[in-house]
Symmetry: C2
Subunit: 544 residues, 2 copies
């Protein structure tokens, strides 16, 4: 039996375009005498379709596009992810389904059993869970089919929720010959390894091969890394589709392929994921060119490198916006990076609008001392200039704040946070340095002086980030423990040997800056818990 | 039997403060020889507690605060909303509960059956539904207790979801003497009438009185209007607590009170709700003073009126920021309003920074014609000035965009959308005029000329909103039909007799401005479907 996992990159809601990708894969499968062609979860709509699912005319259109797929299924079995209307009377009118289509007819539907409703997932908002497990007879084989979350039989691998049912174990009595899984499993650092372990556990439990077809591509904040895989019945990886790009994985059950290792190092994974997320945000919305402020610091340097990789050097415009506090070293470093990357560079001094604002506000501010206000004005002039270029020339502005800064509120709202996409807003300061060194692994792309100097916003004389913040190593440890692991300040203080009051002050700072994070651009999610829809805290609160 | 519904205004997560409010109400109940004191849903944490529920140390603190309430319950029954840990092994570790506490002991818990997971509600993210319905014996009476959604037995009244169980009907076999409901039922225009109808239907179905205790207060975007009520067994309203403020409702089952009507007209409801939401955003976060840009147009005029009502005239600072395109009439109108309201007024001409930007960008823009870029620069200078005042003096900036503009993207990101709170972002242009006329019902507060003139952004010579947009009446009809009713463009075109291409272009405009709405401040929700967490659409999409 030959199975093709068609790892496609859909656009959310582009039913026409997604159907065409599906039809193309079916045609390829037909050419290569494949028995089953397998698509990702909700391949027809793209994942996550969000509230499009609530529009009745959207669902009607899904149904008519599915018909085209049915008509094209001559001579093979197509298994494609689609929402479908629930004919029983249930709480939610939809099921998250795999349509099983053979030779021009829908044989049936396998609906998703476990509906993730935690972190970024809201599936209970739309879907009713499937009640029964069943087996599908395809070309004489007993095939189990399940969807994404349903294959995570090793519960230690699932963070933030637990389930009462185990859809893999429910298949055991059926003596399954093969398990197929339709996934839209988003990227986070380390998640690929967990996904492989989940499939391995499922293969071992059922003593059968597993083929998982994962979505690939960036959809707003979410990045899907692909890496569709063919797991042998022994629980060892047999073959896989490429990561971070569309591709087909052909699995021939009668041939054993050698065990391959698809794991990259974590910096490369993270780099590839960010590049994919950035590229798809542009490609899928029809934009080509990005601009960003280049300060001479490491964050904007990293974003410039990612943008060049994603969009091409000819599509990246760097803007230097020096102020009276900008050091010569910063200007030199920025220009060196621009030259290394071969990108366009514009220089716009913010001095004149800065003076204009200070003059205008002088009567209002009277005898008040300079404070963060004057710093924010500088950052906001830069945001203004980038947005003016964006408006005039159709660039998307990339914002360059990192996760550690965003957590601490060490960013100016409507200033450096301006933009269409926050490229590294889920990347900690620690990871920023790791990525920079990884980019420089063969030759110096990011000037070494940028990596070595102490972080500074250069918004007042001789400013250093560490004047206003504890060491980033401390910030990052507290962030991880509080935000990802939900540990209490008391627990964190003991775990790392930090002063309790220091930990409490950082946790307080995280919550008191919620209002800023609510107004920043969408950021690419690369951790298990990003500042985004996956983390929902009130702005006004009395707990912290 | 005497029941006190204690309609409190909790702060989310302020367990200490909320417990004190609860203890105070218990003491009042004890003084007035009350048998049962009833609190709102999740009164201990405030509703909605969001991801605080995921923090184990938060739940531990909830439990220790509940103990204080138990200790205070001498001589009566306390029924208080609280999350509680689920001792059975279930998918979610928590239940949304009512703790029933009598004379120093917890008698038991009534858990919520229907967990709303639609629109703004995410209860399945946190809670497991209750399986069984039960009856509680209190002072010889057979008392049914349920929580918020559980009382909405009239299913025609629930938008956006359906349920398979009816917790009110499930109580019928128990021959209930009295139904108590703990609610955190958010305000939207017309929702109070529906809530009364739901309680009426429940009373009639069970042939018993119903007492509903609703939360009151603003929590970020959500406004809870209170209006706790006592419904007679005949389904007619017997008594109610005040709306939009804390209060106690004492219901004596042995006395029949006269039927009262608590309905206000819709303008007054809307006005009160916005004032409450605005006030609590400030009070609960410890801020006192607001500033806003006053353009001489109706939107900022309305927000100024609401702010004065909520915070007092002495706490509202209006800022006039005229440009070369500002008409004399606008300046005169703004000053007249300032004088009518008795608020502080600052005038800051944006001409000098505007010129400074134009000069700076001249070499970049070269031979390009002026377009929206130059208009956005003006709006962003105004945002910058308001934020500078906010940073220097600790004001919260109120943003003044309305729902129709926000839908159409007729707003400048980082410009007029700047602020801590979007006061009228869920109020349509039609409602803006209704509110303005209502405010002027006794004397002219908002100058009539502001109400009468054609809407204009005054960002280029002789600009009118209707140069860029269809008539607001058309926009508002399409918005309502598409956003609230989920109707297709085809359906909408037929329903209103509009040109299909026009409707499609408006729907397209709604979706293509999703990126802007993602970065605006939280807005007070006053409709059934606001632009907020209750409406989840991708930015990059291929459907529209």
């Amino acid at each position: 039996m030959r199975i093709l996992a068609a790892q496609i990159n859909p656009i959310i809601g582009d039913l026409e375009g997604n159907t065409n990708k599906i039809l193309k894969a079916i045609a390829a499968a037909q050419e290569h005498a494949v028995d089953i062609v397998l698509f990702p979860e909700l391949a027809l709509t793209g994942y996550p379709p969000e509230d499009f699912l609530l529009l009745p005319h959207f669902i009607e259109s899904v149904e008519s596009h599915l018909k085209k797929i049915v008509e094209a299924s001559t001579g093979l079995t197509v298994i494609v992810g689609t929402p479908r209307r629930n004919s029983d009377t249930m709480e939610k009118p939809l099921l998250n389904s795999a349509a099983i289509i053979t030779d021009g007819k829908i044989t049936g539907y396998q609906d998703k059993i476990l509906l993730p409703t935690y972190d970024i997932f809201d599936e209970r908002r739309y879907f009713e869970p499937c009640k029964d497990s069943k087996i599908w007879m395809i070309k004489g084989k007993r095939v189990g089919i399940n969807i994404c979350e349903d294959i995570w039989t090793d519960r230690d691998l699932i963070k933030y929720t637990s389930y009462m049912r185990d859809p893999v174990a429910e298949l055991k009595p059926f003596k399954v010959d093969l398990l197929l899984n339709l996934s839209a499993s988003p990227f986070s650092v380390g998640h690929l390894e967990n996904r492989i372990r989940a499939c391995s556990a499922a293969a071992k439990l059922l003593r059968c091969p597993v083929i998982l077809c994962n979505q690939v591509g960036g959809n707003d904040s979410l990045i899907f890394d692909g890496h569709s895989l063919y797991m042998g019945r022994d629980g060892y990886l047999s073959n896989f589709a490429p990561g971070y790009t569309e591709g087909y994985l052909l699995a021939d059950l009668s041939h054993t392929t050698g065990i391959k290792d698809l794991r990259l190092d974590q910096e490369e994974e993270l780099y590839n994921a960010l590049v994919l997320g950035l590229r798809d945000y542009f490609v899928k919305s029809g934009f080509k060119k990005a601009c960003l402020g280049l300060s001479g610091g490491i964050d904007s340097a990293l974003v410039a490198c990612l943008a060049v990789e994603a969009l091409g050097a000819e599509n990246v415009i760097a803007v230097g916006m020096p102020s009276r506090y900008t050091s010569d070293a910063s200007v030199t470093d920025a220009k060196k990076l621009v030259s290394n990357l071969g990108i366009a560079f514009k220089e716009l001094s913010i001095e004149s609008p800065f003076v204009s604002y200070l003059d205008l506000l002088k009567p209002e501010f009277a005898d008040r001392q300079p404070d963060a206000t004057e710093q924010n004005i500088q950052a906001r002039i830069r945001g203004m200039l980038l947005m003016a270029l964006s408006n005039k020339f159709g660039y998307i502005v990339l914002s360059t704040g990192n996760k550690s800064e965003l957590a601490m509120g060490y960013t100016t709202l409507y200033g450096d946070s301006c933009g269409g996409l926050a490229v590294i807003s889920d990347v900690s300061k620690r990871q920023i340095y790791q990525l920079a060194r990884w980019i420089n692994r063969e030759k110096e792309v990011i000037p070494q002086s940028i990596i070595e100097k102490a972080p500074t916003a250069e918004l007042r004389p001789n400013q250093k980030d560490q004047d206003d913040l504890p060491d980033y190593a401390i910030v990052d440890n507290v962030l991880q423990a509080y935000i990802e692991d939900h540990q209490s300040p008391e627990h964190i203080a003991i775990r790392f040997g930090y002063d309790l009051e220091l930990v409490k002050s950082l946790v307080k700072r995280i919550h008191s800056n919620e209002y800023k994070r609510r107004q920043v651009p969408p950021g690419l999610r690369v951790s298990d818990k990003a500042f985004s829809i996956g983390r929902r805290f009130p702005i006004v609160q009395g707990w912290v």
